[in-house]
Symmetry: C2
Subunit: 138 residues, 2 copies
DNA sequence: CCTTTATTTAACCTGAAGGTTATTTAACCG
DNA sequence: CGGTTAAATAACCTTCAGGTTAAATAAAGG
């Protein structure tokens, strides 16, 4: 078993059946049998997938009579997003522009109504050093 | 081999060695031997890891004499982020607030200098229906 | 209680993932 | 050319993931 949680999460997400289950759960809590229905696969197989998802903290399960309703547990996905953060600059062209936008905005509010400032043309490529805030992370 | 690309990407990311390699490459292009150095592992093992990363479109490799410099290829990570998008609402408390912020801003710009409007206290929880834009996706 | 419904556990099979060492390939360098 | 350095490939081993069927557990309900 992979000891580090992030590996476990990624491993859990590496299966299309499990991602489909998550997609279904994004629509709302539901039972095991209902979750299993779309798949050409035995119920024990689904049960195993759910166990994997649960151990990866991607879902949590309650109990209601003989049913075990599943729902999405946010923490693991949040961690994935956190991991992704440091790589976002490699593809997200909005990454910089959004920051500029927010910075502009902040500046604009400070000098509200005083004069014209800070043109929209931003060219902050390949600027190493300070980290910027992006409003996405807790 | 997993046929769908997303499964391949997640599977590739499910190994701590490979994530460490990516972390190193985030600092800049480098050679296989240099990449291998931090790990208590044979070079062929690293070579295999690199092949996995390459097939998952997480890295690309050039050629420079006898060296094969590796660099990060953004597309696969971008796809992961895209996949995450639909789940972001499950954990990101800024998800709504950022939107409100941008919407407010847009509104504020339209009526620039006309009067006082749109107080900052936004309470848009559990509002189903229309998709909102977040400035992050292409 | 005995039966039905929902789900898990057990035992098993197959293939692939991740590691090893030994051998090749590729390119530079004296 | 022959040696050295960089990296990939081959052949092999062991563990684990994902599936199966058959049996066990849990709770509801006549």
């Amino acid at each position: 078993m992979a000891i580090d949680p992030l590996s476990q999460t990624f491993a859990a997400l590496a299966d299309p059946t499990r991602r489909a289950i998550l997609a279904r759960l994004a629509l709302g809590e539901t039972s095991v049998t209902e979750l299993a229905e779309p798949f050409a696969m035995s119920l024990p197989a689904i049960s195993k997938h759910l166990k994997v998802l649960e151990h990866a903290n991607l879902i949590s399960r309650g109990r209601e009579a003989q049913w075990r309703p599943c729902r999405i547990a946010p923490t693991a996905l949040k961690d994935v997003d956190g991991w992704l953060e440091r790589y976002r600059k490699f593809w997200d062209e909005n990454f910089d522009r959004l920051d500029d936008y927010l910075q502009e905005l902040k500046a604009a509010e400070e000098i509200k109504g005083r004069g014209t400032k800070s043109k929209s043309k931003s060219k902050s490529k390949s600027k190493p050093g300070k980290e910027k805030s992006h409003g996405r992370r807790k």
